[in-house]
Symmetry: C2
Subunit: 139 residues, 2 copies
């Protein structure tokens, strides 16, 4: 889903499209690197020096609740965010703390609505390890 579609959806659903909200969504659209809240905040500060951390948190929460972005809890103690909401695996390198997308086919949970009597609402398939770049450094 491109950014115009997401903005249109927000608009349709009656969400006020402030410049800050636009900026946060735009930032995630331009940076598919799974940034942390801190990274988003400091990057936006460069353009909108008055933007507040609370606004960044509120906006991320709002976009998440509209189903337009994805929250990632792969790294302990801090949140990452992803523009892409289609279910896909995330890989965290415990050396450089970079989060990568990885493609895994054949997940048995795909499309499932219930498991053990619990209602499935979101999949968060995470993998921890050492990324290709850090493997090379090792030598």
């Amino acid at each position: 889903m491109n950014i115009k579609e997401k903005l249109a959806e927000l608009n349709e659903k009656g969400c006020t499209l402030t410049i800050q909200r636009h900026a946060v969504l735009e930032y995630l659209y331009a940076n598919h690197t799974h940034p942390t809240v801190e990274e988003i905040y400091y990057s936006l500060k460069k353009k909108f020096s008055a933007i507040s951390k609370a606004t960044v948190y509120n906006t991320l929460e709002l976009l998440k609740n509209y189903g337009l972005i994805q929250e990632i809890t792969i790294e302990k103690g801090k949140l990452h965010f992803d523009y892409e909401v289609k279910p896909h695996h995330h890989f965290l390198c415990h050396r450089c703390n970079q989060v990568y997308d990885v493609d895994v086919e054949g997940c048995p949970l795909a499309g499932k609505e219930m498991i053990d009597g619990h209602k499935i609402e979101e999949l968060r398939p995470y993998i921890i390890g050492t990324c290709s770049k850090c493997l090379k450094k090792k030598g």
Copy 2:
């Protein structure tokens, strides 16, 4: 793996078996409810009134590094721990914040060592939703 085997493994590897470390491992062995650090700390306080939070954190980190327990980052902002280290899915209910084990067969990552050039060291397959108990409450 039962607790005696884990204690033996610690001993073999030259890890000092203090009463605090024993207590933390014992607590996880007796409570397969995926407790948070806070829950572990306050439960142990009842028996060992002098135990410090730092020791609980240090011990959990140590046991994790020995591969004897598992850290769970399913809930934002806080850690849960699991005595069981065999890969299995965890389900977080976003209403009651309870973490459940769920059984999912046929994970395509099982046994895999590499993905996209990254070295896989740990799988963290998480699912978010509403648990069976909370689904009943809803009505």
